[in-house]
Every structure is written in C-alpha cells, then in structure tokens.
Amino acid sequence: MAPALAWLAALMVVPCALVLALAFFRRGIYGGIEYTFTLENFGLVFDPLYAGIFLNSARIAGTATLIAVVIGYAAAYAISAAPRRWQPVFLFFAVLPFWSNYLIRTYAWIVLLNREGLITQLLRWFGYTGEPPSMLYTEGAVIAGLVYNYLPFVILACYAPLSRLNPELAEASRDLGASAATTFRRVVLPLTVPGIAAGAVFVFVLSIGNFVTPALLGGGRFQMIGNLVYDQFLTANDWPFGAALAMALIAIMLLVLTAQALAANRASGHVTQAGGNTDG
Amino acid sequence: MSEPRTLLAIDHVSKNFGRVTAVDGISLDIRENEFFALLGPSGCGKTTLLRMLAGFETPNDGRILLDGRDIAKTPPNKRPVNLMFQSYALFPHMSVRANVSYGLEMERLPAAEIRSRVDAILATTELVPFADRKPEQLSGGQKQRVALARALVKRPRLLLLDEPLGALDKKLRGAMQLELKRLQHEVGITFVIVTHDQEESLVMADRMAVLKDGRLLQCDTPHAIYEHPADRFVADFIGVMNFVPGQAAADGVVATNGARISGKVPATLSPGASAVASVRPERIRLFPSVETANRITGTVDALAYHGLDLQLHVRTPLSPKPFLVRVTADAADRRPVSSGDQVELGWDAADVRIFAE
C-alpha cells in the first residue's frame, strides 16, 4: 500500500503542486523561470486574447457535448429497448471503439474528410463534379472528431440508469393517461438525468482540455486551451503562463464536476419526490 | 464417573470495539470431549467470543488457557483450534478434496498420509462422490459438510462451529443436528457450537452457556437450565414459559388481581418486591383430578394442533398475556375443548419458578 501511495505522491501530487507554484513565478527573459512572485500569469489568462480562446474552447466543447449526449442517449435508449440478452453485446460493441487508439480514431476522420477522402468520393459517385468541399480543418471537423471519440462513453453512462429503470413506472404513467411522449418527458428523462450528467461532464472536460483533435482535425487553425498549454511549454517556452493556463483548466474541471454533483443531488431529490407523488 | 478434565478455561475475558463492549468479563470452563453450546440473542457476542478462541481477535482483558497454557499470544495458524465459519469460507477456486487437504498441507505432512486422512474424513462425511467438485457446485448441506471435514481433518483439540446450521432449511437442520452429534462422538473432539436457536442447543449440547449483552447469564446442562433458569431472561429465552407478574410474598407471588401463586421464593427476593411467577406449559394440567397448589379458571381463546399435542391459549385474570397450555392428544380426546369454553387449570408449587422482575 505504502509504495503505491508514495508513487502517486511523488509523481502526481508533487508535480501538480509544482505547476501550481510555477504559475506564480515570472517568465525569465530567455525563457527560463525567474523566481519572483507575481500574479500576472493569472491576469494574462483573462486577457481578451486568451479569454477568447477559453470561450472558443468552451463553445466547441459545449457543442460537441450537446451532440454527443443527444446521439448517445438515443443509442442507449435503443439498446435498453433491445431484447435483454442482446443488450450486453450491443453495449460491448458500442464501447469497443473507445479502446482503440485515440490518434487512430482521429486519423480515421482525416481519411474521411480530406479533399480526396471518402466523402468527396461518394459525392463524385453521386454525380457531383464541383470543387471538393473543404471539410477538414474546420470547426465542424473538430466537433465531429470529439463527438466520435467520446460517444461510446456517453452511451455507457446513459445506459446505466436506463437499464435500471423499472418498466412498470412507464406503464403506470401510460395507465394514468399520459402519452408516450409525455411519459418519456415526465418519467423516463428525469430518472435518467444522472447518467446524462455524468456523460456530459466527461465529454466536456475531456474536450475542453483536448489538444490532439484541434491539432489534427483543426489543422492548428482552431486554438483550444490544450493547444495553448502545449505551445507555452514546447514552443513559446513560457512555463509560468502555461502553468497558469493548466490551473485554469483544472479549475474549470472542478467547477463542472461540482455542478454535476449538485445536479445529481437535485435529481435524486427529484426522484424521491416523484416516488412520493405516485404513492399519493 | 471420573471428574471430567478442563480443556479450555476462559477467564474473565472482555473485548470491546471502540465504545461497544461485545464480551464483558466472561468466565467459562470447557471440558474434554464435550459438546458445548453458546446460546444467546443476535449481537450478544457469541461470534466475538469464538473468534477470540480461534485467535482472530485479541481480548482486551482476561486470559484464555488451553490445557493450562495461556494462548493469548498464539496466532491463529499456530493454535490447535479450528473454526468452522458461519459462511463456511470454502476456497472457491479449489475442489472439495483440495479444500480438505489444505490444512494438512500446511502441517507439511507426507503426501501419502494426507491422502489417507483426507479419504477417511471424506468417507465419514459422505463426501466421496463430490471430491472433485468446486464449492459452487455443491448444495448448502454439502458445503456445510465440506467446511466440517476441512476443520475436522486437522484433528484439532477444539473445534469451534459458528452457527453451522444457520443456512440450512428446517428439515435438513434436524438431520444435520443428529449428524453433528454422531460425528463428534465418532472423532472424539471437543465441540463448541454457537447458535441462537435454543431448541438446537437443547438437542445437541452436553452443556450450554446463555449469553446476553456480552455477559454470561448461566452455564449448565440443557436439562438444568430448562428446569432451573437463573433469571427471568433465561426462563423466557429457553423454551416456552408462562409468566404471572406480581409482588413477592413469603411463600409465593401475589398476582395483580390478588390471587396467590404459591412456589419457592428465592432468598434474594424480599417480600413486597416486584416479581414474576412462571410455569412451563407442559406442567399445567387441564381439569386437574388431583389437588394442586395453584388453580385458576379461564376461557379458551384459541387452539392449535402440533402433531402429537394440542396447544391451548387460555385467557385468565392472572396476566395480560394468555396462558399457554400443552395437552397431549390423548388427554384432549378424553375431554374435548373448543374455543370459548371455560376451563380449569392447575399446577404444583414445585413446578413454579419465581424471579425478580
């Protein structure tokens, strides 16, 4: 037990604390670190230029999250409605791609989207003769890549509460005169909010800190926080600012996780309330 | 009969978990070759006491002497004591044979000896046909026998059994009780069995101890405990008992309605103190033909057949709860009663036990 904890302490806690400390130092003239206390790195985070990148990242991550949750929930719902013995199989195959290499999954989209890629070929096949559409290196490509990469997790997270849902609840709702749509909106959806929240948080957190997908599918044209951190450490050599950005990333992550915990609490309160109503 | 030798002496042993006192100053002697039962309601500290004997818990206070030697510092794997676990704790990845051989392998015995001893115990416990099965392929009763065989094959000085029959259904339980008795007789090992089923301990034990809240209430033969319970709790816990609350007098108890129940009053009870008189259902006679010291008239509330005998619930002015009366089927045939009938009950002063309330 002790060696494992020591390992985590030495190679995770200490380095992270170091990054936190770095964020309070000044950048040296030649790229090194000058050990004088300053808050200007955090100030720089709120500089319009960088704040803009934050907002941009949040928008891209938010869009990807929304799309992934809609598709993922639909898929999870369809799986949970399949015959019982097929459900584990479907679930397994839905999650399988998640375990192949991230770079390769992203690369597959380069193959699909590039000017001579599969989609262009398909269009040609249907008789399209114009310029090949430019799909790669767009915001859309980045979002598609993020959705594709994280969708399996959303399916998994949404499936868990859906599969535990007591079918009699939906039947009771129909029995009491609600339509299928109303039943879904008033009974099924509220009871599966925790899964949706878990999936959404996951996609958002991983998307906003991502740097591989923007770099490969955005062609470096769409800077996200991850790329910014990368640049500060490996190109611009401004470690203190990079550290401050990393801490901002962690702060956002903690914020989102807290929000999720609160939402989950509210949702479970909602559930007991709903239970009380059906009794009464 | 020669004076039985003490095998294990538990001497003022206490154990607490934080603020909970699980075992509170218990002293007990367990004799060579006896079948000893620890009985008590759930949470009274039976398992804790047993685990201290096996070496899995260390007493906070007191000594445990095996053959006169203190074993407090001996680790479980060095004690000539084996425990049969409440959950059986069979190794799920080993066959029945491997489970049973395990303990002998730990003693580094020659393979041939291990083989013959394991074969012998598998035969005794009728497990030969299942020797190559895994625990998950066994029924509850079979698992229980494997757990027993695994402990017995080591020929411990003392075998501890924690509710060995708890997981079995009622019928199998009855068969297993006799089986355990027979095995104990056959192997000649001292058994200490934990149970919260009082009937089970009455059937099986040579001697038994009744515990409550970590304390020892009484330790004696089942017959002595049944006939002469030490206090009201034991009287209520072991078997069925009718209680009449009231006040102690010189030669009995004055019930709340003024009626007098005569019986021997213990010296510790001063006159006027609150007390209960009690009598076993099978000691009460219906329409007594001979003179009895105690007599009362009541109304039959309900009847229930229990095979050989008939149980009557009779409402009397003596106590708020109806009296339970056991009548043999023969007696009931001679003089049939039915619900709502007036009946006369009588019992001797010698059958009355009086306790402080």
């Binding site: 037990m1 494992a4 904890l5 390992w7 985590l8 302490a9 190679l11 995770m12 200490v14 380095p15 992270c16 170091l18 990054v19 639909a74 898929a75 369809a78 409605a81 399949a82 479907f90 195959f93 839905a94 399988l96 192949s100 290499n101 991230y102 770079l103 390769i104 992203t106 690369y107 597959a108 380069i110 193959v111 699909l112 590039n114 599969l118 070929q121 594709y148 969708l151 957190v205 770099a215 951190v229 450490f233 470690w239 550290a243 990393a246 | 096996a54 899995f56 794997n77 060095k78 084996n82 425990l83 676990f85 409440q86 959950s87 704790a89 190794f91 730990m106 003693e107 998950e136 695994r150």
Partner: protein
C-alpha cells in the same frame, strides 16, 4: 418491453444502426484501405499486404514499436504489483478517508495535458535526463490507479473469511496470499493488467512530454502522430489496423475475465 408498437421498434433499430454505422464506418474504411494495393481512397486497386510488408521494413516504426512494448510491459508490471497491493490494503481496512479516495481517483480524471506538463516541469526541475524511464515512471501513475480500481471492484465481493479460514488451517500470511487471495482475485488482476497495458500502448500526450529530446525514446503513438501530421500515408493505415487489433484483443480478453468474475 415487448409492448412497443412495431413503428417504435423500427425507429429504435434504425437509430441503433445509424449509431453503429457512425462508430464503425471510419474504422472500417481505415482497415479496408490498409489492404488496398494503391493505398489511396480514390480507388480500390486490389487486395494486397504490401503496406504491412513495408511497415516491417520501416526501422523508425519498428524501434518505436519496441519502445512502446518496453514502456507498456514495464509500467504494467510495476502498476499491477503496486495497484493490487494498494487495492488489497484499502479494502482490507475498509476505513478510508476522502483524501485517499481522491488521490487514487485523480490520475484517472486529470486532463492528460496537465499531468504531462506537470511531469515535464518536475523532471526538468530535478535535472533528470528524460527517456523511456521517465515515460515509464509517468505511465505507472495512471496505470496504477486503473489496476487498483479494477481489483477493488473485485474485492468488494470478496469473502474475507476465506483468508481467516486459511490462517485457521495453519497457513502463514504469505502462504495465504499465494494460495488463497491471489488465485481468487487473479482474473481481476489480469484484467487490470491488460487494461493498463492497453492504456500504456495507446498513451500519447504524457509520453510526448516526458520522452525528452531525440528519437531514441519515440513511442509508437508519437511516431503515429508525427506521421499523421505529415499527411496520409498508406503505411499508417496498416499500422493503425495492427495497433487497433492488439488493443481490441487485449480489451476483449480483459472484459471476458471480468465477466467471469461477475459470473462467480
């Protein structure tokens, strides 16, 4: 759920087919192209294994693959040992604080980029020469957490009384661990190790930051990243197919083992 109308059922199947198409077409295209003689998506010019053959002759890829194998094997071995012991330690005590829980959970949720730069800062502050060994040190951090969580999940349903039973029958603590505890949790330990191996083989960002300068410690994902940035080459298709086959096999195996545990 048999009472759904045929229309609803058809819609659900349709949704499911679309999602699976979305998930698998990109991968399938990649795999198909890796066997395409011409190597380009423009036309199918016949089945060929030539891109796999050309991979075998690419020394940069081979050395990267060897590096990855070393990193994955060593970090998995260390992480499996430490993670298993940690899991047993925690579950045996049963009383663990929130802080400990967070410490073990953190490596699984910290964004890779943050852990990557943290380790880079740390190693360079210590003036450590970076290379495969630093990648291994880094990979053990998250691998350990994953092994620990897999083994802990198994231990939640572990019957601790068999450990006591073993001691009761005369076994020492070590013998008990070797003959009882380990065999019973072995499927989970192996599943955890396979998971760790897969994660390590696929991990790019942290390796990228902690590999140090020079090509000597380039791992396969780093190599793939470099190739992808360079553009589409048919060789990547073949390499991608192999890497996917390896990790999917390992994962399927791990899943199997875990299923076995649940079935018990």
């Amino acid at each position: 759920m048999a009472e759904r109308s045929p229309g609803t059922r058809r819609t659900l199947w349709f949704v499911l087919s679309l999602v699976f198409a979305f998930l698998y077409i990109p991968i399938a295209v990649l795999v198909a192209l890796s066997f395409n003689e011409g190597g380009l998506p423009t036309a199918w010019s016949g089945f060929s294994l030539k891109w796999y053959a050309s991979l075998a002759g690419n020394s940069a890829i081979l050395s990267a693959a060897l590096n990855t194998l070393i990193v994955a094997l060593v970090s998995t071995a260390i992480a499996t040992l430490l993670g298993t012991l940690l899991a047993i330690g925690i579950e045996m005590r049963r009383q663990y604080g929130k802080a400990l829980e967070a410490l073990i959970f953190a490596p699984m949720i910290i964004p890779d980029i943050v852990l990557a730069i943290a380790l880079l800062s740390f190693f360079s502050m210590l003036n450590l020469t970076m290379g495969l060994h630093t990648i291994i040190l880094a990979h053990v951090v998250f691998n350990l957490a994953f092994v620990c969580s897999v083994v802990r999940a198994r231990l939640k349903s572990f019957d601790w009384s068999i450990v006591e039973a073993s001691a009761d029958l005369g076994a020492s603590a070590l013998t008990t661990f070797r003959r009882v505890t380990l065999p019973v949790i072995a499927p989970a330990v192996i599943a955890g190790a396979l998971l760790a191996f897969t994660l390590s083989v696929d991990e790019f960002i942290i390796a990228f930051f902690t590999a140090g300068a020079g090509r000597a410690s380039t791992t396969l994902p780093m190599q793939i990243y470099a190739m992808i940035r360079f553009g589409i080459t048919p060789e990547i298709n073949a390499l991608a197919t192999i890497v996917m086959a390896v990790s999917i096999t390992a994962l399927t195996l791990s899943q199997r083992l875990n299923r076995g545990i649940i079935g018990q």
